[in-house]
Subunit: 334 residues, 2 copies
């Protein structure tokens, strides 16, 4: 009995520590203000069993865009930087690329010409770097790149350019029994390589754009092959469709940063029935911090935020001002 | 302190009860034998932290076919019976169906002619009953049907024709921290209506065949519309692709009952690397019980089990013999 009592006392002490941790500020990198207060009031009321706004655990679904919402997206989407690096790495096996646009422009470092090649040129770059290989080979190429590559202007690892305040928000939601999802226009297979270790989001909670895939036994080994055709674009009106397909129920909270997220926020926050008073929350991260990150919105080619910003007041979406709302942008480095 | 001690003692008593519950037979509707023992030995070794075969919780993914694996599928897939009933219910709004095959055959109850209409005819029946409506309208039509409809030969509710031993297996796996999924050739939206209440499987863990879908604001209300084109067939080689798309990692256990599940079982159980010794389990439910359910395998048009049965010995898949292995087929009724 002596030992059992010790165990009980130890458990009580550990419980006490856990409780203290929970009682602390769950969003320490957020400045006090209407946005932080709005997020916390929302979570408090839907998790309070005594509240008329209480929402049962299975319905606590939160969906977040990735590029520009959970990590940076300038000077261009990081996945595109990956694709360009892959073209360079693969060039020795493709001698014809030296003289064939858009590959020749990539190899010459002529980014203006690459961007001018438009969807057709970029499609070829994506196909060359993402298709015609097994899923395992692709994942390994992303894993290798993520470990080595550095951002062209900050010199940081890409996985260090995630937003500390959003990491705290994801953890806060999970501590309140939310399932957190990524719903991104980016490639589902690209994000799944790092989403679990970087965001704490497992592969089955990552939704993104997809190429066709096929299955075969190759030399007796079960193999998924990534094919060249786009199967699904998880952007704009595709985001609610992606949520419907993968999750099959409506989120309670959605966060984005661009017009590509507008439909996801509509789908999440607008009541379907006039008498539905379930609290729902839409968040828009506005890039206002040219010093610590980037400042852009209405006219940006990457992450343009225009019609969604116009809609925010009437929809009740919180517009997060990076410069004012966030104490810190990226995690502290070790 | 007096109260706290009481709480501690109460907790200890409750813990004791819980432990006793866990120590009982988790699969009471399974007869003792090699299959029950094989399933339990598998779960025991992968959950034992001291075992070299221990598998961390996030990798504990189990996928199950639905028709013929979790519930019955004779005399035809229940979703097809739903579609036929829907055609009858919708007929007053479609006077032309009286003279247009295959609808006229459905209305005349000429099932031979309906089946003879082949994929083209059945496709028209599925399209009429599943597409051109909102996702909410479709879900409501399934909900209404499931509540009212009765099986043509047993007279039972369809949701009562689920296999009690499989319900126990699903619960046993979840009690051992598995995420349980359905991976079915059936329609994802059809199954999601009842999977949570009947199987304890939430919508986000249901994978199935899908029609195209679109999103729009309709009179200001966010609306998903089910379109007429098939977007994905989650059968045969489509099952590993569906798992790859939705889950993004390989299951540890897969259960099926027909050749349509063969590729899912291959994908789950065959090592990708020669040195991968992670334990993996494949299960095939074989319909051997003409008295309590149905008996069919190699030559059946519904749920044919032929090449997968041939592969079972070399792959190490457990072939469950309904008649011998299961004490009871369906849950006891209240």
């Amino acid at each position: 009995m002596q030992i059992r009592l010790m165990q009980i006392l130890t458990s009580l002490v550990l419980l006490g520590i856990a409780a203290t941790g929970l009682a602390g500020d769950p969003l320490p990198s957020w400045n006090d203000g209407a946005n932080k207060a709005g997020i916390m009031a929302f979570v408090t009321k839907i998790t309070d069993e005594g509240s008329p706004d209480f929402v049962p655990v299975p319905q606590r679904i939160a969906t977040f865009d990735n590029d520009g919402t959970l990590w940076s997206e300038q000077p261009m989407y990081f996945q595109l930087l990956f694709a360009l690096d892959r073209v360079k790495a693969m060039a020795p096996e493709h001698p014809d690329w030296k003289t064939t646009a858009p590959f020749s422009d990539v190899l010459a470092g002529d980014m203006k010409a690459v961007m001018a090649s438009g969807m057709e040129g970029l499609g070829k770059i994506i196909a060359a770097s993402h298709a015609g290989m097994t899923a395992d080979e692709f994942a390994q190429s992303v894993r290798d790149w993520i470990a080595e590559a550095r951002h062209p202007t900050t010199g940081m690892a890409y996985t260090a350019m995630v937003y500390q305040p959003m990491l705290e928000l994801l953890a806060y939601l999970r501590n309140n029994s939310f399932k957190t999802y990524i719903v991104s226009g980016g490639g589902i297979d690209f994000m799944r390589v790092f989403a679990e270790s970087v965001y704490g989001i497992p592969p089955e909670q990552v939704i993104g754009s997809q190429l066709d895939a096929s299955y075969q036994l190759r030399d007796g080994v079960p193999t998924i092959v990534k094919e060249g055709e786009l199967a699904f674009i998880d952007d704009k009106a595709g985001k609610p469709v992606g949520i419907y397909r993968h999750i099959g129920r409506r989120p309670l909270l959605a966060g984005g940063n661009s017009d590509g997220d507008r439909q996801m926020l509509e789908y999440t926050t607008i009541p379907r029935e006039p008498d539905d008073t379930t609290p729902r929350l839409g968040l828009l991260v506005r890039h206002t911090d040219a010093e610590r990150e980037w400042a852009y919105d209405r006219d940006s080619h990457i992450g343009g935020l225009d019609t969604a910003l116009d809609d925010a007041p009437k929809r009740g979406w919180l517009v997060i001002d990076m410069r004012k709302d966030w104490k810190r942008i990226y995690p502290e480095r070790d």
